[in-house]
Symmetry: D2
């Protein structure tokens, strides 16, 4: 496994769902940056289980920062945050050691790790590992904001219910802040209600639903990114796929571009208050792997939670014969719901790293 990300900052994630503790080390942060710990807690709380529509596992997810900070300022040494696992119930997962849950990492992890992988709660593959990801992302998000770069997301869809998408021309960060206060983080209050209803319906049917998260980043300078292999899409994708259950990321107009004509897709350049902007924003703020200075927009599509209470077919690894399985345990029926801060976190890490890297190249 490869649990590290970044070139200038290097985020290293450790822990298993039902192990003793999980955490993250952030190496390479500039010294002298004030870190607001309350905001980190608030960020973590958005991801934490227990909210409406979410799993009933309860973890405080209190991060204990054991290094890297002196009197609230980064000191240049690696910042390490540790979260103790206090509410792990491993009994739920015993059968998994033998009968892999469909659509989970269980089976390929069993093969890859020769049967030694930690099956309890999915081990290091668990969505619980997004907690330290959120910790690292919350730090990076603060540091981006000091540079005037704001990012935020919302649940764009849950099953068939759609929220209002971001206005791709709106550059006002005020649109982002309220979403962090809402459960679920949705713009349209009616859509929110319908989403929760759809999630409850799925839960009561022993089923689950997919969903999508839209992310918006404002205030990016023009020219961040290191194409061709470390352009903005490359790096964002590399970071975002650390969030489990994503099967597709759309940048700008996304998959619709393949059905467009150039004359309808192209965003012309215009002058606006002596700044060069595009008159429309189908490109989603990225061209040639570089930021254009326009709002960066992407959408992550999450598959429905694979763990469902309905009986499913699988195979007994010890007996090599077919078997059935009904996944017990506490699961979010819609993983996308709590994934909004995770998407923000992964993107914040990737973008802050690119921001620092551009400085190294004389930008």
């Amino acid at each position: 496994m490869s649990s590290e990300f970044g070139r200038i900052i290097r985020v290293s994630i450790f822990g298993q769902s039902h192990g003793e503790a999980i955490g993250a080390v952030i190496d390479g942060l500039p010294a002298g940056e004030k870190i607001d710990l309350e905001r980190i807690d608030a960020f973590m709380a958005r991801r934490a289980p227990g909210g409406a529509g979410a799993t009933q596992r309860r973890e405080k997810d209190q991060v204990r920062i054991v290094s890297g900070l002196v009197d609230g300022y980064t000191c240049g040494a690696p910042l390490c945050g540790i979260i103790e696992n206090t509410d792990a119930k491993s009994a739920d997962y015993k059968a998994m050691a033998d009968i892999p849950r469909p659509m989970h990492a269980d089976y390929p992890a069993h093969v890859r790790h020769k049967g030694y992988n930690d099956v309890r709660g999915g081990g290091h593959f668990s969505a619980r590992l997004t907690a330290p990801l959120c910790f690292a992302g919350a730090v990076c998000q603060q540091l981006l904001e000091k540079q005037g770069i704001y990012l935020g997301g919302h649940l764009l869809s849950a099953g068939d219910v759609q929220d209002t998408p971001f206005d791709p021309m709106n550059e006002d960060p005020a649109v982002l802040a309220p979403l962090t206060q809402r459960v679920p983080p949705v713009m349209d209050a009616q859509a929110a209600e319908k989403m929760l209803a759809a999630i409850d319906l799925a839960r009561s049917a022993g089923d689950s639903i997919g969903g999508s998260v839209e992310l918006c980043v404002l205030g990016l300078p023009t020219g961040l990114g290191e194409p061709p292999f470390d352009g903005v899409e490359n790096r964002l994708s590399q970071a975002l796929y650390a969030v489990p259950a994503i099967k597709c990321i759309e940048f700008g107009a996304g998959c619709a571009v393949s059905r467009m004509r150039g004359s309808e897709h192209n965003d012309p350049y215009v002058l606006q208050d002596d700044r060069i902007r595009t008159a429309s924003n189908r490109h989603g703020g990225i061209l040639g792997g570089l930021t254009t200075g326009m709002p960066l927009l992407l959408t992550c599509h999450f598959k429905p939670t694979p763990s469902i209470a309905q009986e499913q077919k699988s195979v007994s690894l010890s007996q090599m014969q077919e078997a059935t399985l009904a996944v017990r345990g506490r699961h979010d029926p819609c993983v996308a719901l709590r994934a909004v801060p995770c998407v923000e976190a992964a993107a914040a890490i990737a973008l802050y790293d690119l921001y620092l890297e551009a400085k190294a190249h004389g930008y």
Copy 2:
């Protein structure tokens, strides 16, 4: 810019569209591997300009291998292949230095590189740089095949015209080979005709169209990938976005997953000839960032060629006033058409690197 990719092998791409030469260095290849140079030439020819529906720029794209091979076998030293640029016509691009082409890297590259970027033909941002990518990919593809891993792609759509998609349960590599012989590389002959017609129509209208490329990889062992940050999707995305004009990559059922229920999305495990398989393949051969052993399927959505003959609005950088631009020069009206081998190449590099990395971890 960051023109290197890979952990075990490291592919380094160099050159600009209208510079003296372009090329690639592949560091870290195992020694003693026979490389079939004719197959490399054949691979390069698939990407080369001049075919039906493609740009009229003519480059032989003959790769001169100057290191890394002795008597046709890799010797453990870096393999370097160089392609001379022989048909560059820079005069076409003079205006670009001042008026950035909409939807190209011109403007953000100008800002990032403080006006020193090579504007001729898009410089290092040009799709011409997919030639050395294809060289490196052709090498990796051969080495994957020695391990029984086959990959191939087709033009799944051009504008509104759709080709038949791959059967996600078919594990027979015989489905892939014929596609390499076809121009365009399409399964359904009628669709191919309609695609070429749509491309010609766009060209004659001074316009362009988008398209999509579907990739299939067969014979992958179960358990490749280094999640969470270097799982199969992470690495494939990082490599694939080096191919210009991709705005979205779908893995397995792709963006459709966000509208599915778990009970309809989940692929159950079954036994087939004593092997563990899934009865369906919506997961596209990847779970938890690891290969499952089922066919790996992904689709890349390409935007319409941004260079169109129609007049477009832009801005003069020197005068900081609005201007218009009609892009001259030789351009493919549908970049997706020649992108099929590029997608194969990027994926082959990423997968071969993951294959070797798994061996390092004792797999």
Copy 3:
């Protein structure tokens, strides 16, 4: 700062001397490897303060492994070990914030980190950070031994007192084991006594002495190493300079080679029991950046402990005027004494990483 090392395994060190905790994350370990925790404790104990001739700071240095192990076997997830700091006395160090200690990192760290570095006990620059290094090294040492690769060191000199050097032709690991039991780890008992006497003499004079550590690695296969930039010397040096106070590393005959003739330096090849060996071993087991299969030998030269009780000249950073300083606190008068396991640890990490990397390249 850059606190990570390795390509296949990636060791990430965190913590400051007087922070809450220190530790290490080891990413990329193969799954299914049994880890002997008692041997790790024994390894840590060799580095721990409190022995003859060493600092009087007492830390148990008990490592708490919070992830990566299930029932004593590696599970493929990152292995994280945490050591709480329980006996930090920061009051000793207050003056340092203003008057940098000569020959320490204080002053350049102050400049680099703009005054935000953690000055307590040297922060992340402290030799205390060799504790997590030893933890990571102890793990790698065990895994190397499973491959028949043994490494061990001894205090070759303290001030003017010399121990007997290793016999460079001896391939029997039995020579290494007894050294781990001795305090100080010295071959010649009389030399050991004289060394302790020299250290005590320096301490009582408010002074310190330098020393050197010789390392021997046995059982290495022929051909490990990734030259030119990641050959055995490159990687060992990169890892070893993480141990504070080293100013020179000699491989094989070391600095003496520059005064030799080829005819006296060259080691001829011979056949021994059908194995190719060299008849002498001035090359120290490395040629062209690759292991030759002969014993690998290197010597690290440690400077005298910079913290001495004698009054020294320095500068007040706040007043920008010259000042004097007598370093109080608990310090080893000869850092080389406790550095033997640190040298072993750094080397074990580098060599195990190269061992795994060779497998990736088909070795």
Copy 4:
């Protein structure tokens, strides 16, 4: 093999001694930097064979820059320089395929690469590969000079003959320039004569001698370096060991430190024209892995050229029986002689990379 170096810039070296061409790609350079090509040629000429005391192989070593420069300025794309091999005489080396030369990489390379390594002239292990290293270093040296950082070296010793060492307190770059004009690059003219005589004597005896190169770097800002794993010594060592035949690198007072007392080794801080300096410079400009702003001094010890005309014992790999060998071909009897620019080049690459990296971390 691993032929890449650097985090911000990434230098990739390719080619074999007797292959078609050798070269280097430098990725990650800032755009807009003027490169003086004549100075690069002059730098290359210092390394080129044919001077007094050196091999009689004649290569012009003309670098053809095929990418990365537009009108003499870096354009942000990778800079690739290619050197054609025009005077390779492979016949000299035929026996090597079977009888490995003592003290060369031949035997471990044969094992590692399973007999597929390029034996002609040592292949990728050859000192000829320092030509592209010098190209890359010459570029970095220019870019360092724009920042007021100057580096230069001299042949400190050849066999028993010593040159005057650098004055470790002298900060005037004027001391460095004349050395680049001298053959050999030696401060003391009498020593130069004696060195050439010693080299000639060795050659006529069919023997060779070792030597050492001292490097001085002036004008470094305080605080460069990324300890613990990427401090100045770590990175310099990693880069320098790419130069063949180095067996030891001493920083500052070097191996002598292990025999010193703290009170005699420590360099006190003083104020000089309102700058903080050390009153002496035994630390060689590096403390805690960071530059102190004092002159950086290091010495590389080179082994005697392993290729000697005298008959040596070795082993026939095909017959697995002992054999003898007298190495023919054109060889420098003292590799250190032409190594001065190579040491400068490797150091320039490492230091420029650290310089850029510090900027990324907000320095």
